[in-house]
Amino acid sequence: MTTSTVDVKTPEQAPPPAPAPGRRRRFAVHFAHYKWLYLLLLPGVVYFAVFRYAPMYGVSIAFKDYVPFLGVNASPWVGFQHFQDFFSNPDFGRLLGNTLILAFLNLGIAFPLTIVLALLLNEVRLSILKRTVQTLVYIPHFLSWTIVASLSFLLFALDFGPLFLFINSVLGTDIDFLSDPAWFRPLIVLQEIWKNTGWGTIIFLAALATVDQDQYEAAIIDGAGRFRRVWHITLPGIRSTIIVMLILAIGQMLNTGFEQIYLMTNALNRDVADVFDTYVYFVGITQGAYSYSTAVGLFKSLVGIVLIFGTNALAKRFNQSGLF
């Protein structure tokens, strides 16, 4: 735009007695030149400052006794008091257990199923069938957890729910799956599989498409059967993708998904249902223990960060490509 202003600054730059004002001036010129771009940038920067970074500053109340009318700044410091309270609370062990069990169930069942489904889809050479099945299995990913929970309530409804009747008639039992604590975890994993397994195949199918086709021909000539080809060529071919996705999954391990768990929690299954995320909600929002629940949330995200860096380092040590 104003190229003339840029030219003006050049002679001034030559004698450098005070670098600071010069730099400031150069920035002013740069700024004037790009003022429209900075103006465009402004709303976004304000957004990040207010809605992303202000809450990060607000995390400091985990070390304070937050008093609403004093605000974040003026509330008195208490150090690690809330953390000590949490670790000595009997809830701590229960929450950690519930969170980890659900995380490992998802990691041990839903994650491998995604890879298996991707491998099976990859074996399909009839492209119309492949595309149709993909289209169908992606759909649940776009439905809300509210809908998934509502569908579960109807399918397992007492007396008329199709799955309630079917499973009970097969088992010869009379189980109320929705309130029986023993069925909470299977239901959660089942929902996760229904909602996200299909969607999860996208990334593996993309990786499978890049596996070198010549290797298969060579293997066929060597007399390798179908399963040996999958084992010796396909799986090693997508190993790095599997590791990256596993690292990401482990990093997200403690994020059990607030909405899903919250929607499936009821008075009867509370003991197995409570996880860090829902606990923060119940103790923080509904009971007003802001500082304490912020400490719980902070503990959770720090463990998450440690997990993601830890697995990444581990992946590198085993000479695999890590995430970073």
């Binding site: 929970a149 509502s150 996208i202 995200s301």
Partner: protein, 290 residues
């Protein structure tokens, strides 16, 4: 490559095809059941455990929900919040992505690092809630829109997309005297329509499906969105805001649940084909350069 398929291979293929078709059908089955149930009579729902075609076609459930104030309000609210929220998200993301795509802009690296950091670490539920409270946004629809107004992930993908566009386009426009905003509006935006459409749909689905924000920020139940209404109806069978006057009329308690689920799902199923056309490409852009 399928020069000579063995018998075992053919059996595997056949079994695999059957299995995958089964998976596809099973995925959709719960929804087909609910769709059929929403057009059935209350009696049929409780009598027949499972069906994909109602014996007696009935619009009773829909008539009921569309006669209640609470449902209509929730539906209108959700449509409006989704529309406004999506437009705001698109505008904010594009206006921030465009300057960040200019390599010679000062402060760009700093801002980008801060954006990436915000992707890894967040304040969490309580500090965000207190912020919304302090801003006076509790019980305001802005609380559903503003906190998620920019998705850092999408921002970086769109920024990368702008950066990849040929620089010659901009240079020639500049020679013709176009301003930065003119370039963005007249040259970059038309070129990035498919990408922006993808993100618009993802944003819209996100806001439409959001349950956590209304749960946290809207305590006034006259302001509830469709997802909150659905939760209320299916979890507690509490037919809130029953605007019915006839005391002899018994609302179809189960049928309502079916019908509300259908209404909450339908827009997504309608837009799904458009979404699907783009998301594979969108994901690819994201994974390759993100």
């Amino acid at each position: 490559m399928k020069i000579h398929n063995t018998t075992g291979g053919r059996i595997f293929d056949a079994a695999n095809y059957v299995f995958l078709v089964l998976i596809g059908v099973l995925t959709l089955l719960p929804f087909i059941y609910v769709f059929a149930g929403s057009f059935a009579t209350e009696a049929e729902i409780t009598r027949r455990a499972f069906f994909v075609w109602p014996e007696q076609f009935s619009l009773g459930s829909y008539e009921y929900i569309f006669s209640t104030q609470a449902f209509i309000r929730a539906l209108i609210t959700t449509v409006l919040v989704t529309a406004v929220g999506t437009v705001i998200q698109l505008i904010l993301t594009v206006t921030m992505a465009y300057p960040l795509a200019k390599r010679n802009l000062r402060g760009r690296q700093l801002i980008l690092s801060l954006v990436v950091f915000a992707m890894v670490f967040s304040g969490g539920m309580i500090p965000t809630f207190l912020l919304i409270k302090d801003l006076g946004l509790l019980n305001s629809y802005w609380a559903l829109i503003l906190p998620a107004a920019i998705n850092p992930f999408s921002l970086i993908i769109i920024k990368n997309f702008f950066q990849e566009l040929p620089a010659e386009l901009e240079e020639s426009a500049k020679m013709d005297g176009a301003t930065e905003i003119g370039i963005l509006w007249r040259i970059l935006l038309p070129l990035s329509k498919p990408v922006l459409a993808t993100f618009a749909l993802f944003y819209a689905v996100g806001i439409w499906n959001d349950f956590m924000s209304p749960l946290l920020y809207l305590s006034d139940n006259s302001k509830w969105t469709l997802q909150m209404y659905l939760r209320q109806v299916t979890a507690s069978s509490d037919l809130l805001g029953t605007g019915n006057v006839d005391p002899n009329y018994i609302p179809p308690e189960q049928g309502i649940k079916f019908a509300v689920i259908v209404v909450a799902t339908l827009p997504i199923l309608i837009f799904y084909p458009f979404l699907q056309k783009h998301f594979a490409k969108g994901m690819l852009i994201g994974s390759v350069k993100g």
